[in-house]
């Protein structure tokens, strides 16, 4: 008989392999904290979250970058989420299979285009448009939001489509059988049922927006200032790291790693939230209640006209 790998050995080795992603995550955490942590302790969290960023004078406050990231990200979500969910609804509910087989890969291509190309398109197309039609220097939180809004689309669409498709077909049939139109069914049955999945999609899209670097550097202007309008230039956390990393040494470099820590923590919080939201998706009981309520809701307006 031939030699066989003992199953136990196989299983143990596979477990080891499977733990690699956890190990990598830990490794990243350890090294980012190792580089940036001491500075956080040294300058104190209070100073680190102040508004003064002046590495030449040893002032490392990243509050304005946090504001910048927040501004650009929320702008991106304002643009990306409605379009993302609309596309997801079309893909999951409306498009005939043949159209879907073209639309879906097209959206995935959108995800594959390098972020530097997005940034470049921003510079040559978007910035002049903002400058001439809206005003300001062009490079602004608005420009960053629009570019990121496009860049988060594939994330939002992908996960929303999954969430919508996970809604059992019977829910739709039940609603349609009660006389609801397709749109009523989507709005009152499918979307509520897929709610937590869509929330996860938005959160992960947010993570994508917060983490994007190259495109933002190219279009957001990178001024370390408090933005007063969408046309003001802002610097995000990621831009701060990538802009100055090449030059930084000593405390300055540590401060950039500390910026990385903040970014990392924000991403971890978002991931955890998304995970929780998706976890709730599995608790179908919530959905069933929604369905019952919706069915009752649907029947009412129909019942009224028949009385007359």
């Amino acid at each position: 008989m031939r030699f066989r790998l003992p199953e136990k050995v196989v299983e143990r080795s596979l477990l080891l392999v499977a733990m690699s992603s956890v190990a990598i995550l830990l490794l990243i955490t350890v090294f980012i904290f190792r580089e940036g942590g001491p500075l956080l302790v040294q300058v104190g969290l209070g100073n680190f979250f102040s508004g003064a960023w002046d590495p030449q004078h040893d002032q490392y406050g990243i509050a304005l970058m946090v504001v910048g990231s927040f501004a650009v990200t929320s702008g991106a979500l304002l643009i990306g989420v409605p379009f993302g969910i609309a596309c997801a609804i079309v893909l999951a509910e409306m498009a005939p299979p043949r159209a879907r087989s073209i639309l879906k890969p097209a959206i995935e291509v959108l995800a594959g285009i390098p972020s530097v190309v997005y940034g470049f398109m921003g510079i040559v197309v978007l910035l002049p448009m903002i400058r001439t039609h809206i005003g300001g220097p062009g490079a602004s939180a608005l420009a960053g939001s629009i570019i990121l809004g496009i860049m988060v689309l594939p994330t939002v669409i992908g996960i929303s489509v999954d969430a919508l498709q996970a809604v059992p077909r019977s829910y739709r049939e039940a609603s349609l059988a009660l006389g609801a139109t397709q749109w009523q069914t989507i709005r009152r049955v499918v979307l509520p049922a897929a709610r937590s999945g869509i929330v996860a999609a938005v959160i992960l899209g947010m993570g994508r927006a917060v983490g994007e670097t190259m495109a933002v550097i190219m279009v957001a202007g990178n001024s370390v200032q408090m933005p007063h309008s969408p046309l003001d230039s802002v610097r995000t956390l990621t831009a701060n790291i990538a802009l100055e990393m090449g030059y930084a040494a000593g405390d300055h470099r540590a401060a950039l790693f500390a910026t990385g820590i903040v970014l990392f923590v924000i991403i971890m919080i978002l991931n955890t939230l998304a995970n929780l939201a998706r976890g709730r998706l599995k608790k179908r009981s919530v959905v069933v209640v929604t369905l019952a309520a919706t069915a009752a809701d649907l029947v009412k307006p129909r019942a009224k006209p028949e009385e007359q």
């Binding site: 030449q56 220097p137 202007g221 001024s223 030059y247 930084a248």
Partner: protein
């Protein structure tokens, strides 16, 4: 049957790839005949250094010159740590840095204030430039131009151009936080060329038709004024090393300082170093 073949070919491919990479990895240690010089630092110097390296390597086969970016400060650190044979720096060394390093001025560069070609303003004083970058002057009408809001474009912290600009112009004042920050000379030029109200500073060597260079205190940045030293904003391009450069690095630097090397610099818009 098909999937089976696919697995096999994939495995074969991966195996071949692994062998190939291993082979090349070993190869590295055997390639003894070549001499390599590594330069790292200022992104302002980088394109010129690349140009020098390219020409030099063309004339001296067997020598490889790697030019890494990173920025002036990184260049200083790399030279100190020995990570690079030669560091590139586009500002004067700070006293503590100068104490530990050998520096060679390989060329000089005129820091040029550029505006949009349509801008009517042609001449500013150093004080006006300082006021603009400090945020005290915000409209072109205040310096004799049209009523147009200014867009100030600066470089990022740590860049040699910014270091030199702060040293030559700002006189310890801070650049206003509202200034747009771009991470390369090309990006500054791009920004300025696209915005009628913009101004920024770049190397004389990268000025092209898309932007308009300003006179400073009446002196235009031309080859003549730069060489004569009458243009006020001049910064050195430094090559720095931990000790006296030796071997291939020295040969390369000597060539740069030779008429052939300097002619190349002048052709690219830099100022030759007087021997």
């Amino acid at each position: 049957m098909l999937p089976r073949m696919r697995t096999r070919s994939l495995c074969t491919f991966l195996l071949l790839a692994a062998i190939a990479t291993l082979a090349t990895a070993c190869n590295r240690n055997q390639a003894g005949g070549e001499t390599a010089v590594t330069l790292a630092g200022s992104t302002s110097v980088q394109p010129f250094a690349e140009h020098w390296a390219e020409t030099y390597m063309g004339q001296n086969p067997g020598i490889t010159i790697n030019v890494q970016g990173g920025g002036s400060t990184a260049g200083v650190k790399a030279a100190l740590a020995g990570a690079a044979d030669v560091g590139m720096c586009s500002r004067e060394l700070k006293p503590d840095e100068a104490a530990k390093l050998k520096k060679i001025v390989v060329a000089r560069d005129g820091l040029t204030i550029v505006v949009h070609p349509s801008n009517a303003v042609a001449d500013l004083t150093v004080e006006q430039v300082r006021s603009i970058f400090a945020g005290r002057i915000k409209n072109w009408s205040e310096v004799g131009g049209a009523d147009h809001k200014m867009t100030v474009v600066t470089r990022e912290n740590g860049s040699g151009a910014r270091g030199a600009f702060e040293e030559l112009v700002m006189n310890k004042e801070s650049i206003a936080s509202s200034a747009l920050v771009q991470d390369s000379q090309g990006a500054v030029r791009q920004m300025v060329s696209a915005d009628a109200g913009a101004l920024g500073y770049v190397s004389h060597g990268v000025v092209d038709a898309s932007v308009k260079p300003l006179k400073i205190g009446g002196v235009a940045p031309t080859e003549a004024t730069l060489t004569a030293g009458t243009y006020p904003l001049i910064r050195p391009f430094l090559f720095i090393s931990k000790g006296e450069p030796a071997g291939a690095a020295k040969a390369f630097i000597d060539w740069i300082l030779s008429p052939a090397g300097q002619a190349l610099a002048v052709k690219e818009g830099l100022i030759a170093v007087q021997k």
